[in-house]
């Protein structure tokens, strides 16, 4: 992506996180919490116990899946901000399918449910992809709108057609579906933890996406569309098709992420299952340098940060919204400092400007 050495990239990315955390420390001080205590809980908590490590990986799983989809879209020149909605629609369709066929054997039900969720997420991502490719509709705006539409639609389905019959008969009316048949659950990897097979699935898919994007001609075409749209058109690539395909895949991965959350952890669909992963996935994809394998360490880091933030909140009791705030800061710092990676001379240039007076406007002979 950039011209700089990996060491420089790592330095800039580390700087971005440290910068965001420093501003976060100010917020913690405002909240009357000790930032040192808070950050100690946040940075050490996720790695200091069996619970911490497994829960980090539990959060890593959807982050990898969402970020893989975002990498495919971004690499193909489409900014997919709609993972949040695609997750919900994928989880909705998959859950409806699993609830409709509870008696199928697990060996069929589980993969079929995952496929349905992929297809539904792909559809929800394909709409903005098609709108961008053929009608030039800004995909950032359309995906954000589709997030809002998906949230409302899922709430409607959970309060109405798909509500757990028990919630109705008990009169509690909590908006969630009935429990999905045990045969479809993703098995736990370790007993007495929530860590499930989803993480293996996510890691395998990361490898497959890498092979797809860098070792197949289709993946190559998609990346050329992202890098040089018009040039690739001259090269005979069907640009519009590639854009739609990229968004189909991108949405599919998000849909899968939603269903993996349902089948691995909750075993039923409820509101808020996307849990901000749609936006965090963007941060992870950027942080992983838009590379399918770079996404893995980035997702572990952010999984740990999210869990650490939960632990920090409990340690010093600050409002939960601080997590979203710090993530926003990380995005701002990462994109804001990207120029140091893109342009090796930029830092020196700014530094020079502070030392010498501004360059006078060159006089090139006055008016012509």
């Amino acid at each position: 992506m950039g011209k700089q050495s990996p060491g420089m990239k790592l330095l800039v990315l580390t700087g971005a996180v440290v910068g965001a955390l420093l501003i976060g420390a100010l917020l913690l001080l405002m909240a009357g919490a000790n930032p040192l205590v808070a950050y100690k809980a946040m940075l050490l908590g996720p790695f200091s116990s069996r619970y911490g490590i497994t829960e980090t990986l539990v959060k890593t799983t959807p982050l990898i899946l969402v970020a893989l989809g975002i990498v495919i879209a971004f690499r193909s020149g489409t900014l997919n901000i709609g993972a949040e909605g695609q997750m919900m629609i994928g989880a909705l369709a998959g859950s409806a399918f699993a609830l409709a066929f509870p008696s199928l054997p697990g060996i069929i039900l589980l993969p079929a449910t995952l496929l349905v969720s992929f297809a539904a997420g792909a559809l929800w991502g394909g709409i903005p992809g098609w709108l961008k490719a053929y009608l030039n509709v800004n995909e950032i705006l359309s995906t954000i709108m589709l997030n809002a539409i998906a949230a409302q639609f899922v709430t409607y389905m959970l309060r109405g057609p798909l509500i757990d019959p028990k919630e109705v008969s008990y009169g509690t009316g909590f908006p969630q579906t009935a429990q999905i048949a045990k045969a479809a659950w993703l098995p736990r990897l370790l007993p007495r933890t929530r860590l499930h097979w989803g993480i293996i699935l996510a890691l395998v898919l990361a490898g497959l996406v890498y092979i797809f994007l860098w070792r197949t001609s289709l993946g190559y075409k998609m990346r050329t569309v992202g890098a040089q749209k018009e040039a690739s058109r001259y090269g005979g690539v069907r640009v519009e098709r590639m854009m739609v395909l990229a968004m189909l895949l991108s949405g599919g991965f998000a849909g899968l992420a939603g269903m993996v959350e349902v089948l691995g952890i909750h075993h039923r669909l409820m509101d808020g299952i996307s849990g901000g992963y749609g936006f965090s996935g963007i941060v992870v994809a950027l942080f992983g340098q838009l590379h399918p394998l770079g996404v893995i360490p980035a997702a572990i880091l952010f999984g740990a940060l999210m869990l650490g933030a939960d632990m920090m909140q409990r340690a010093v009791s600050v409002p939960a919204a601080i997590v979203f705030t710090i993530q926003g800061l990380v995005v701002l710092f990462v994109v804001g400092s990207d120029i140091f990676i893109r342009r090796p001379g930029f830092a020196a240039r700014i530094f020079k400007r502070f030392k010498t007076p501004p360059r006078p406007v060159p006089d090139e002979g006055g008016a012509q």
Binding site: L27, M30, A31, L79, I81, L131, L135, N136, V137, N138, I140, L141, S142, I144, M145, L146, A148, I149, Q152, F153, T155, Y156, R159, G160, F279, I282, L286, V318, P319, A321, I322, V323, F324, T325, I326, Q327, G328, L329, V330, V331, L332, V334, V335, G336, S337, D338, I339, R343, R349, V361
Partner: protein, 311 residues
């Protein structure tokens, strides 16, 4: 159920609500228009609006003065605009993503500060409607147009004002030039960076005002996600209105009409699931974008950072 919607008092009510709800769309979209005309695409409007909504509310709650709340919202808008301008102009960042970062930052910070300072739903003394003498006595039209608080009139007045600034002043010409061919503007001695900073900050101040309208001129309280995507819709309205204040006015009214309609559907308890009512503005946004897209002109340098000293 249709006859409930068609009674005169309901229609007047819907139209009056629609005119009032045009305000946040108009303020945010007219501001964003300046940013985009200068070539900067600020997607963080929603986050700035949330901060404006909270800042205005909190200052009004603490000081008892809604006017101080307005000042606070403008100040917060200016600061967030400065941040966005620094990242997108000076640091030449990818604007789509930095806007999303600004949105996450503002949205999260507003929620964080609300929990920290207030934490419960409470109402404040917002701005009262000012009935315009004589005009407000006109049947139907008077209620619809001339019985609102000052922010509504202010937002409507901003339409001709921003039009004059953009198309009839030297500065407006500079803004448009910077958004189309920054290289040429630079050659002629216009500071691209200064124009872009100014425009992004103006846009952000107006987004702060738009947010403050929601708490000080509409609901008189603060709640999580009070902006409900209006900031993003405002960005879409700039496209829909083709970077022109009059076009934006038309689009803003269309959207606020749908917004008002869905509110009244909920109020009247019509037999439509409320989720579908809430969905309508978002569906409309996508339809509107699809309708105008493809054959629109846009500022040629939109989203493209300008580096005076070259690569």
């Amino acid at each position: 159920m249709i006859h409930q919607l068609l009674s005169l008092s309901t229609i007047v009510g819907i139209l009056a609500t629609a005119v009032r709800l045009t305000t946040p769309f108009l303020l945010a979209a007219l501001g964003e228009m300046f940013a985009q005309r200068s070539g900067i695409y600020n997607l963080g409007v929603e986050g700035v609006m949330m901060m404006g909504a909270f800042g205005g509310f909190w200052v009004a709650l603490v000081t008892g003065s809604a006017w101080l709340g307005i000042l606070a919202a403008m100040g917060i808008g200016a600061l967030m605009g400065l941040l966005m301008a620094f990242i997108s102009v000076t640091m030449q960042a990818e604007q789509g993503i930095s806007g999303i970062g600004l949105y996450m930052f503002g949205w999260g910070l507003a929620g964080f500060l609300f929990r920290l300072t207030v934490g419960y739903i409470t109402s404040i003394d917002g701005f009262k409607p000012i009935a315009i003498p004589l005009l407000s006595d006109i049947p139907v039209l008077g209620t619809v147009l001339f019985d609102h608080n000052w922010m509504v009139y202010f937002a409507l007045l901003m339409v001709p004002i921003t039009w004059v600034i953009l198309f009839k002043t030297t500065w407006g010409l500079k803004v448009r030039a910077v958004g189309v061919t920054p290289e040429a503007a630079d050659t002629l001695g216009v500071s691209v960076a200064r124009v872009r900073y100014t425009c992004v900050i103006i846009g952000s101040v107006m987004a702060g005002l738009a947010g403050a309208f929601l708490t000080l001129g509409h609901t008189n309280m603060y709640a999580d996600n009070i902006t409900a995507g209006r900031g993003f819709i405002a960005v879409a309205l700039v496209y829909f209105g083709r970077w022109n204040p009059w076009g934006i006015l038309g689009g803003a009214f269309l959207f606020s009409f749908v917004d008002a309609l869905q509110l009244w559907i909920q109020v009247l308890g019509l037999n439509i699931p409320y989720e579908f009512a809430v969905m309508t503005p978002y569906v409309l946004t996508i339809l509107a974008l699809a309708l105008v897209a493809g054959r629109i002109w846009e500022p040629a340098a939109l989203g493209r950072p300008f580096d005076r000293e070259g690569g």
